[in-house]
């Protein structure tokens, strides 16, 4: 998708979301999967990673694993391939005046695959199970209370407005499962939803191959282009490449962008989106662990010392876009001009370091993520050029994030998910309570932006998000290098519309050619 199309899509998403947040009414036209599109017997996709549990109270996820959940469960709202919000199980949604109560009107006549009705009681039970469980995003719904007003009306009551709520109801937080399945011992592997497909538990090999057949009672059959869906879990890059080259799948997510020429030579088309950024997380912004990092000039000097273009070329073979901001292009907060805030200039960086009182540089120890050893080495060399010594320490197998968030280290390098929803991203890594703000850095300016983003008018929310982005970029809270291209390949017989807001394409985005 070209940049202007992506921007247009984002504006539409923002407009729809904000309309809902503003106490308006969302209603609507069904969200078409792909325009046109024929019908075929089978769609086979390779997916990186299997679901940890189909129990929405334990393993509900989106991102890379969204196809598993999207196939068997409905969400209350649904995003289409352009990222626009539309009706799902809820056909209409309305906020009260202070945006603390959301009323959802449910689609009538929908049934779970076990025959039970998808009514308000079931929706409330399902949302409560998610809220009280241990799914990754459970905490995002922790203060909500739910009520079934009548068979087809549910209210969500919050103590404070949540600008990300509507978006959340279109992903993991909005998944609805049959309450009757909650008591089953096999709930982790035997999902019961009202989604487009039903899992064939006999043909499925948990962790490796998931076989689904079309749900005969599905309410939105016109957006269903395949009678059967097979999701093959593959983590080995060689196996994924072999499956592509031998034509044993119609679509495949792959992680090695160096394989793109080989994949295209096999007659496949590669689609790419850029959601996540990779870079240094300069977490100790108050200088509690390493004093110099508390000075914004030092953090800015680090940003100026990094040759992002060369690093992108070396580490990702050029597959991505250099960036200096944490917000992705699909967000309201994104500002292209911020990507030229820091020019690569080691001399100027060294001077800035001297101005900050560190003419001879300083030393710090970064949390080592062994998966990015080369990045650490190259960044270390570039920082060394301005006098900063970055040592690394491996906290042990699988301990990288735990150590970073403890916090045991002032800095770490990783790829961080950059959510297209400004409020979600801000609460994930910028708010004082954010998971990736482990030193709980607090600034009055940030608090002010967050307050406006939570309760302002739509225009004010967008302005505050942009101001927040500019603030954290100018203050050099991070040293992002580039947004990595997430790549997805489809064969010559398949059309894909890759929505811009999720790492994995929607299963509604696929259709057979011809």
């Amino acid at each position: 998708m070209s940049r202007w199309k992506a921007t247009a899509a984002v504006v539409i998403v923002a407009a729809l979301a904000l309309a809902g947040c503003a106490g308006g009414e969302g209603e609507g036209k069904p969200t078409d999967g792909v325009s046109g599109g024929g019908h075929a017997d089978k769609l086979t996709l390779t997916v990186i990673g299997a679901p940890t549990s189909y129990d929405i109270g334990a393993g509900a996820e989106w991102g890379q694993r969204s196809p598993y959940f999207e196939s068997v469960f409905d969400t209350l709202l649904r995003q289409n391939s352009k990222g626009e919000l539309g009706p799902g199980l809820a056909t209409k949604w309305t906020y009260n005046s202070d945006k603390t109560v959301l009323t959802l009107n449910l689609r009538k006549g929908v049934k779970f695959s076990d025959g039970n009705p998808v009514d308000a009681k079931a929706v409330v039970a399902s949302m409560e199970r998610f809220r009280d469980g241990t799914s990754a995003q459970a905490s995002t719904m922790k203060d909500n209370t739910y009520a079934a007003i009548d068979d087809a009306t549910v209210t969500v009551t919050m103590s404070m407005p949540n600008p990300a709520l509507l978006n959340m109801l279109s992903i993991a937080q909005g998944l609805i499962a049959s309450p009757a399945s909650f008591v089953g011992a096999d709930i982790a592997t035997h999902p019961v939803g009202s989604g487009p497909y039903i899992l064939d538990t006999k043909e499925t090999v948990t962790g490796t191959k998931y076989v689904y057949h079309a749900n005969p009672d599905y309410w939105d059959k016109k957006n269903l282009h395949y009678d059967n869906l097979i999701l093959n879990t593959m983590t080995d890059p060689t196996a994924i490449l072999n499956a592509i080259k031998s034509g044993e799948a119609n679509g495949a997510k792959f992680t090695d962008n160096n394989a793109i020429p080989e994949i295209e030579a096999a007659g496949w088309k590669v689609e790419g989106i850029q959601l996540d950024f990779q870079g240094l997380l300069l977490l100790d912004r108050d200088g509690t662990m390493v004093k110099p990092l508390g000075d914004k000039r030092v953090r800015q000097a680090i940003n100026m010392a990094l040759d992002r273009k060369a690093l992108l070329e070396t580490l990702q073979s050029g597959h991505g876009t250099v960036t200096q901001q944490v917000f992705p292009p699909s967000s309201d907060a994104f500002d292209k001009s911020l990507d030229s805030t820091y020019k690569y200039d080691p001399k100027a960086a060294k001077k800035l370091l001297a101005d900050a009182g560190y003419p001879d540089g300083f030393e710090f120890t970064a949390d080592l993520n062994p998966s990015f050893q080369t990045a650490y080495d190259l960044i270390g060399q570039q920082l060394k050029d301005i006098g900063i010594t970055m040592k690394t320490e491996d906290p042990g197998q699988g301990q990288f994030i735990k150590a970073l968030l403890a916090p045991k280290y002032p800095v770490g390098f990783m790829g961080l998910q950059a959510d297209h929803n400004d409020w979600q991203l801000a609460n994930f890594m910028l708010a004082p309570t954010g998971t990736f703000n482990p030193f709980h850095t607090q600034r009055d300016e940030v608090d002010g932006f967050l307050k406006t983003m939570r309760s302002g008018t739509p225009d004010e929310q967008v302005k505050a998000a942009k101001a927040l982005n500019k603030y954290v970029t100018d203050e050099a809270w991070f040293a992002p290098l580039y947004r990595v291209q997430g790549s997805y390949a489809v064969d010559a017989n398949t059309t894909l519309e890759y929505w811009p807001t999720n790492a994995s394409p929607s299963i509604f985005g696929f259709s057979p050619k011809g």
């Binding site: 549990s53 905490s139 090999v205 060689t238 072999n242 994030i401």
Partner: protein
């Protein structure tokens, strides 16, 4: 005989107990934030702590092990932390896949090793040289490289076989053969290379023995001498190597099942170990130990059948 079997059975039980405890300790020492691995980077520290408690990972090591062991003796190996599936279900759906690959590779390796080993020993000359060099290469080249080459040629270019996955035989015999042939070939080449040397050496050694000269003097045909008598004597050492190879092939599936995306025990081992899926790793250890004990027992019995001198009291 019964006492011997009981002793081996008892030794197997002790082996399982010791190895399961050692595995548990090693997994514990390896550390890793399992709850974070399950939930991903987006989960809050509080949610991770809740998951850690839910999994019982905040309990002392010995308590965790005792809990696992007490359930394990009743046949309850728990549920995988990363799929929610019963470990016994995971193992039962995958074990036949792996045994098919390993069993098939063992049979292919043994048959070809006998043919080429005898041929090399009896004919000598260039045939012997080719077999020996071939065995050397087969032994030296890692099986995953062989697998990649086979996939490239026979699956991607010629489309004779499937590159990934497995088709159950009850669904389609042709499909099943198209998915297991390349993995079996990749596994068997290395094993055959080892066994063929053993067969060749044993045959060369046996044909110069007095009893062979006597058999020939009595007018037995050469094929009867070789296949009924020489191979029987040469079979003992070859069987021992075959047993070792079978166990080696079990570990070989760890790589081969990854390359071919085959849902067997090897693939589960890689995945469970890298993720820190303790219940599944423990289940796999138990199964592998049982398989090794059974194979060793069968080899002992086979040795006894071939050679009366080692028959068990």
């Amino acid at each position: 005989m019964i006492m011997y079997l009981l002793k081996r059975l008892l030794a197997g039980v002790v082996l399982i107990a010791v190895l399961s405890f050692l595995t548990f300790v090693l997994l514990y020492m390896a550390g890793g934030d399992v709850a974070r691995n399950i939930l991903g980077e987006q989960a809050t520290v509080e949610t991770v702590a809740k998951k850690t408690h839910e999994l019982g990972l905040d309990r002392p090591l010995l308590v965790q092990y005792a809990d696992w062991a007490m359930h394990a003796v009743t046949g309850n190996l728990g549920r995988s932390w990363f799929s929610g599936e019963l470990v016994t279900t995971t193992l039962s759906t995958r074990i036949m896949v792996t045994l098919t690959l390993v069993g098939g590779a063992t049979i292919v390796a043994a048959l070809l090793a006998i043919v080429f080993g005898v041929l090399a020993a009896r004919r000598g000359g260039w045939i012997d040289a080719v077999v020996q060099v071939g065995a050397f290469i087969g032994f030296a080249v890692p099986n995953f490289l062989i697998a990649l080459a086979l996939v490239l040629v026979f699956a991607i270019n010629l489309h004779w076989f499937k590159a990934t996955g497995i088709v159950p035989p009850q669904q389609s015999i042709v499909g099943w053969l198209s998915t297991i042939t390349l993995p079996i070939a990749a596994l068997s080449i290395g094993a055959m290379a080892s066994i063929v040397q053993q067969v060749r050496g044993s045959v060369v050694d046996s044909v110069s023995r007095d009893y062979v000269r006597t058999l020939r003097a009595r007018g037995f045909s050469e094929s009867t001498v070789i296949y009924r008598h020489v191979l029987r004597n040469a079979g003992g050492p070859a069987l021992a190597v075959l047993g070792v190879q079978f166990i080696g092939l079990l570990s070989g599936t760890v790589v081969i099942e990854q390359v071919f995306a085959i849902p067997g025990l090897g693939q589960a081992t890689v995945s469970a170990t890298s993720l820190g899926d303790v219940p599944l790793v423990m289940g796999l250890v138990v199964v592998f130990v049982i398989l090794v004990v059974i194979v060793n027992l069968l080899i002992d019995l086979g040795q006894a059948a071939l050679n009366p001198k080692v028959r068990l009291a």
